[in-house]
């Protein structure tokens, strides 16, 4: 089998060139999707029969909670690829995704607190979902702290990838342990295996909003990754040509 495409995919220069064309369309798609999803969700979707208008924060809360978890998995998988196949690009991808994932985790926690005040009457409870999200945030912080503690980029990548993988094993353990310990949070809004219990007029803007968040995430991720490529490859000729075209 011909594996050259795999190696090509790992080449920073090839990656930088090909994503150059994607950036505009990704930016456009996330702007349009975000605008449509937010206006629809916040202004036109019907009010909830139980929670009134306060439920509308769902259109920010659920997508960010989705991404907070997906980003950790992506970070650990990229770290594993970097450890096993020693692909530079995978190491960089793992590194740049950590702060994005941490931001989405913070966003999910904050919107959750704002939602919790009118519905439960309190900003914070030691509920299973909330606690496991908080611990996910701590895992991100640990990863970033370890990443920045080393002077050598290669060592930092390897060490933090090991930590990300250890954390990946622990995420389900943490999730279920705190779930059995205490639960107040409402059950998952969306599951893959069951028909959604939500009204269609609410479901469509929610799905749109999830798509918008994913687009936005990809955009930010690629922007950070492209910058990281330029920083790490700063000794190569092709980077010099991009940064200083006249010299």
């Amino acid at each position: 089998m011909n594996w050259t495409w795999f190696h090509k995919m790992g080449s920073p220069k090839w990656f930088y060139d090909i994503t150059d064309k994607w950036m505009f369309w990704l930016g456009l798609a996330s702007a349009v999707l975000l605008a449509v999803a937010m206006v629809w969700g916040l202004a036109f979707a019907p009010a909830d029969y139980q929670q009134g208008n306060s439920y509308r924060i769902i259109f920010v809360h659920v997508p960010s909670a989705f991404l907070a978890q997906a980003c950790y998995i992506m970070m650990a998988v990229a770290g594993a690829i970097g450890l096993i196949w020693k692909m530079k690009l995978a190491d960089m991808a793992a590194k740049v995704s950590a702060p994005i994932g941490a931001s989405f985790t913070i966003l999910a926690l904050l919107t959750g607190a704002i939602w919790g005040k009118p519905t439960w009457g309190t900003w914070w409870v030691w509920d299973a979902r909330l606690t496991s999200m908080l611990l996910l945030l701590f895992l991100y912080f640990g990863y970033m702290a370890l990443q920045s503690a080393f002077d050598n980029e290669a060592t930092a990548s390897k060490a933090s990838s090991i930590l990300a993988l250890v954390g990946l094993v622990n995420i389900p353990i943490i999730k279920y342990s705190v779930e059995w310990w205490n639960t107040l949070h409402q059950p998952a809004t969306l599951t893959l295996t069951e028909r959604p219990a939500m009204a269609t007029e609410m479901l469509i803007p929610l799905l749109l909003s999830i798509a918008a968040f994913y687009c936005f995430f990809t955009l930010v991720f690629l922007m950070r990754l492209r910058t990281e490529v330029l920083i790490r490859e700063n000794r190569t000729n092709w980077v010099k040509k991009i940064v200083q075209p006249d010299v």
């Binding site: 450890l83 611990l135 701590f138 895992l139 912080f141 640990g142 702290a145 370890l146 503690a149 080393f150 050598n152 290669a154 060592t155 390897k158 060490a159 090991i162 930590l163 993988l165 250890v166 954390g167 094993v169 622990n170 353990i173 943490i174 342990s177 705190v178 310990w181």
Partner: protein, 231 residues
């Protein structure tokens, strides 16, 4: 003696274990300080929260477990530090035996001098904090199952940070979130025992985690040591 005679795998693991235990016995401050810390934390709660007997007996489980967790954390940084400084860690990596088993021997010796001693000391704390009698067997069992877990998980963090000058605070940051399940099931078992409900389920979960950690953690520890030494 034959020229090619070298210790068998089992002998080499026992040698690592014996050496670490001997080092711990000779370096008594490292051995005793976490234990003193463990006992001192228990004094802070009656002074800081309330000396009320009723209230203390309610939170005794949590205090003992949190104190055990923090005391273990305190002893973790020393796990590979002196070996790293004097080069014997490098020799361990270069040895012909699987690093997996050698680090398991090192973790075992760490558990004997930290976790096992903490477990033996717990009745002292339990008495001064008025832990109900029904909780004693569950506390003993959960500590016996839980403290080796703390050593195994903590060793991953210690191995990751051994190459760094200021590894101590970073180590706690990395390891504390991973300790949460141990804390939850450990205190859960004692709580159930005090309430008179079956607590075997919690202990079984701790056992499952322990088996998982014995199987998987040495891989991570060995990989982390190789990264720290190479970097």
């Amino acid at each position: 003696m034959e020229i090619n005679s070298k210790p068998s795998l089992w002998q080499s693991c026992v040698m690592v274990l014996k050496r670490d235990l001997r080092l711990a016995l000779r370096n008594q401050s490292d051995l005793v300080n976490p234990l003193i810390f463990f006992v001192m934390v228990a004094t802070l709660f009656p002074l800081g929260v309330t000396p009320d007997k009723e209230f203390l007996s309610q939170i005794a489980t949590g205090i003992i477990w949190v104190a055990a967790l923090l005391a273990t954390l305190l002893s973790l940084d020393a796990m590979f530090r002196s070996d790293y400084d004097d080069g014997s860690l490098e020799q361990l990596l270069l040895s012909p035996y699987p690093l997996y088993l050698l680090v398991l021997a090192k973790v075992t010796s760490h558990w004997i001098v930290s976790g096992l001693l903490l477990t033996l000391l717990f009745p002292l704390l339990a008495i001064v904090l008025f832990l109900p009698w029904e909780g004693y067997p569950a506390m003993l069992a959960s500590l016996l199952l839980g403290t080796p877990l703390l050593s195994l998980i903590g060793a991953i963090g210690a191995a990751l940070t051994v190459g760094l000058k200021k590894g101590g605070v970073l180590l706690s940051l990395l390891i504390l979130p991973l300790y949460i399940p141990v804390l939850i099931f450990g205190t859960g078992a004692v709580g159930a025992a005090i309430n008179g409900t079956p607590y075997i389920g919690h202990l079984l979960w701790l056992g499952v985690f322990l088996v998982m950690a014995i199987t998987l953690a040495p891989f991570a520890i060995a990989a982390a040591l190789r990264v720290s030494i190479a970097g």
